[in-house]
Every structure is written in structure tokens, then in C-alpha cells.
């Protein structure tokens, strides 16, 4: 599981995840993921294009991050879920809790709205 933090200090913080966000993968990136949001003042876009699986702890990490951004009055959006991941998001109704959009353009539009 990999996490790249792009644009810290700019108007948009991009968190790019790649790999399997299962229990072990989530444990590996959770601390840095939350710290990256805490250390920035920007709106947050999470890029899941490279993520092949999201388990229950991965869902929790995303929801906790969205809440963290919300508390700091910053906008938060997830984009790029592969079809298997999008199916999990549908099952757990994630889009009812945090903004989930198809791709980067939609994410940027959402943050500007």
C-alpha cells in the first residue's frame, strides 16, 4: 500500500493511494494519511485510481479523514474508484456519508462548487 502526498501547502491537497486498502494496507498508511490532512490548510482530494480493494478499516480511514477535514472547515472529495471498489462503496453507502465522484475533473468541479 502506497500513499503519495501532492500539493501540500497549495490550495489543493491531493492524497494518492495505490494498492490494497485492506487491514494491513490501512495500518501502513493511516497515520501519514491523517497527518497529511492535519498539516495542511487546503481542501482534500483523495485519488483512488490505483486502489484495487477497500476493506472495512479502509472505509473507516476515509470516513475519519472526511470528518477531520470537515472539522477544519475544509472540503473533501474521493475520486477514481475502480469498479470493484465502487461496488463496495455502494454496499456500504459511502456516498451518503462523504462526497464520492467518478474522476479528477468531477472532483475539482465538486471542490469549486
Amino acid at each position: 500500500m502506497e500513499l503519495a502526498v501532492v500539493g501540500s501547502g497549495t490550495a489543493l491537497l491531493r492524497l494518492v493511494l495505490a494498492g490494497r486498502l485492506d487491514a494491513a494496507g490501512t495500518e501502513k498508511v493511516e497515520g501519514r494519511f491523517s497527518a497529511a490532512i492535519g498539516n495542511s490548510k487546503a481542501d482534500v482530494a483523495v485519488d483512488l485510481t490505483g486502489v484495487s480493494f477497500v476493506g472495512s478499516l479502509g472505509i473507516r480511514m476515509l470516513i475519519a479523514a472526511a470528518r477531520q477535514a470537515d472539522r477544519a472547515r475544509r472540503r473533501f472529495v474521493i475520486f477514481g474508484a475502480q469498479s470493484a471498489v465502487a461496488e463496495v462503496f455502494e454496499t456500504v453507502s459511502l456516498d451518503d456519508l462523504i462526497p464520492v465522484v467518478a474522476d479528477e475533473d468531477a472532483a475539482l468541479a465538486r471542490l469549486k462548487a
Binding site: 487491514a23 472495512s56 472505509i59 473507516r60 475519519a64 461496488e87 456500504v92 453507502s93
Partner: protein, 380 residues
Amino acid sequence: MTDDATERHPPESERTMVRRAAPTAVEPDPVLHVLDLEPAEGIAARRIGLDATPLTIGRTPQNGLALPSPDVSRSHCILALEGEAVVVSDLGSTNGTIVDGRAAQGPTRLAPGSRLRLGPFTLVYRSGRASDLARAEEVERDLARAGRYVAALLPPPVAEGPVRADWRFVPSARIGGDGFGYGWLDERRFAAWLLDVSGHGAGSALLAASAMNILREHSLPGVDFADPVAVLSAANARFQMDRHGGLYFSIWYGVLDIGSRVLTFGCAGQHPAFLVAPGEAAPQPLWVKSPAIGLAPDWPYRRAEVAVPPGARLHLFSDGAFEITAADGAQLGIRDFLPLLSAPAVPGLAEPERLWRAVRGRARPGPLDDDVSLVTLDIP
């Protein structure tokens, strides 16, 4: 309890004063190398210690470890300690020595946790100080105890009457936090549910047991357990993640009225249950979109209804039954699992057992990553 619990204990700084001093003599605590054989082909699990003498593994009794299976060669492989490392070499076996999914080409060094496959058998290599290995074993035993406690909360099968129920529960070594139950609410209405707590381990098992006890004993004050919305809403109010160690759970909850043959159900963050009706080719998904219990305070859960035809069968199962890795490394999903529900019965095998064997047969050898729960309700 209203009094402040912290007042009954001295503060941390005072308690640390009475800790025992470290022993002056250092106990010997050597680094050990062991292989844990996982149970297969009627052979029980056991631990084999490795020492300076190389260990040969093969089908015949003259090997240091004999694994009786036609898929294991007479002399299959040899393990030797080289410095602080364990190295395995295949001895020209027919089916190969598979280390972490790859056939060993030449001497191959094992990393702690490496999985060695010989035919149907899996051996896991572990190394560490004797005290660390003992501690890890104790943790595993505790997890097994947690699994047995959850299993003790499960209802007995129901063989007679207007609803017949049976199940198969296979907790994973790390405990996945599955739980389920069913039973009559009154003379007409039968409730069934299946939940899955996020994460693994003792924490997930504790929350599963806590939620299971509330659902079993109907101990949510003022809640009508025949109303799935009331149950999900009350559970959601009781088990908010922020107050439960960051854990949450998904659940499917349904109530069948055997008079009207209407099944009313709700679902929180879980995949559907499936209804198989006689003569229907595809199982019917029973699902309502809403988040899991504990994620969103005051969520307005909804219910749905379905008519249950005579001879129908209702399947509840956990994601551990379909989120599995196949023998070829492919990640399977619910679409791979669903055809099993409509497959013909196997004479002499209970339906949950038939499904479990099919799941087990598709997964790669070795223990599964998550709990597997399979519940079948027959409604004649």
C-alpha cells in the same frame, strides 16, 4: 455507576513506584526457528522446531517430517539453518516446493511468516526469541478463546416447524467479528440477522459479542424487535463508532411473518441477503442502501418487504464467504459466489456445509483471511 472511577485508584505516578525491579540475572532467551504445520488431510496442526540438523520432508517415514499424501514426493525438500537464516531446497520433487506462492528454484531463504506449500500441506516459518514466540502463541490461544465465545452465542439449528434454520461458522485465526442469530419473536414472527464488525481481532469479537447479546436477548428498551427500522435505529444510537473504540458493524436484519408470508427487512452497510424461490433461476437480492451501524448518528434507516413463496430458501452470509483469494491468486467477489446458491443440493450434506465446502474448495490452501458465516433458512 455515577461515581468517578478514577478516584478509586492511585494516580499512575504512584502505581509505578511499586513495580518490581528488573531481575539481575539474565534468563537465557535463545532465538528459535519453528515450522507451524497447518491442519490438512486428516493431519493435525503441530509445531516442528528446527535445529543444527537439517530437516528432510517427504512422504515416507524416514524423513524428519513425514507428510503422507500422493502429492508429496518421497524426498520432497530439505531445510537447513545457515547462520541465523533458514534455507529450503527442493529435492527434485514432482510438484515442487512452493514458497509464498512461487516454486523454489535452488536454495531459497525463508522470511519470518513465509508459507511453504508441499502438495496439500502448508507450513508457516516463524523465528524469534523463545519468549516472543510464547507470547504470540498465547495471543493466538486468546483469539481462539474469543472465537469460541462468539460461537457459544450462536443459536442451535432448527430442524422442524414452519422455519428451519441451519448454519456453518468458521472463524478465521485472527477473528473477523462475524455474528448471527435467529428465533421466534412470537407465534407468527421469526427474526434472523447477520452482522460483521469492522477489522479483526479481540476488539472486533468483543463488539460482535456485545451486539449479539443485545439482539439475542432483545435488550434494547422500548424497541419493537419485529420492526427492522426500529432495531437498526436503536443499535445505531447505542453503538456509535466514536464511543466504541472506532469500531462499527454492518448488519442485515429481517422478520418473517409466517401468516402473511411477508419478509420485512433492513440492511445497514451490508451486501444483500438472497432469496431462492423454487423454479427461479437467479437468487433474488434483498437489500436496502444505508450506512453501517455506528457511522452516522440519527441515520433514517428504511425497510423493504418481499413476499416469500412456498418452498423458498433465505441465505444470509458474511463477506468472508466471497472475498477470498483463489488458488491461482485471483481475488473473488460476490458474483463468483452467487451461482453456488442455485447449485443442486448434495445428498447427505446440509446446505450451509455444502456451501462451505464449495467456498473452501475455491480458496487457496491454508486458513481463510476472514470469518465465514453461512446461514440458511428454509420456509416450506
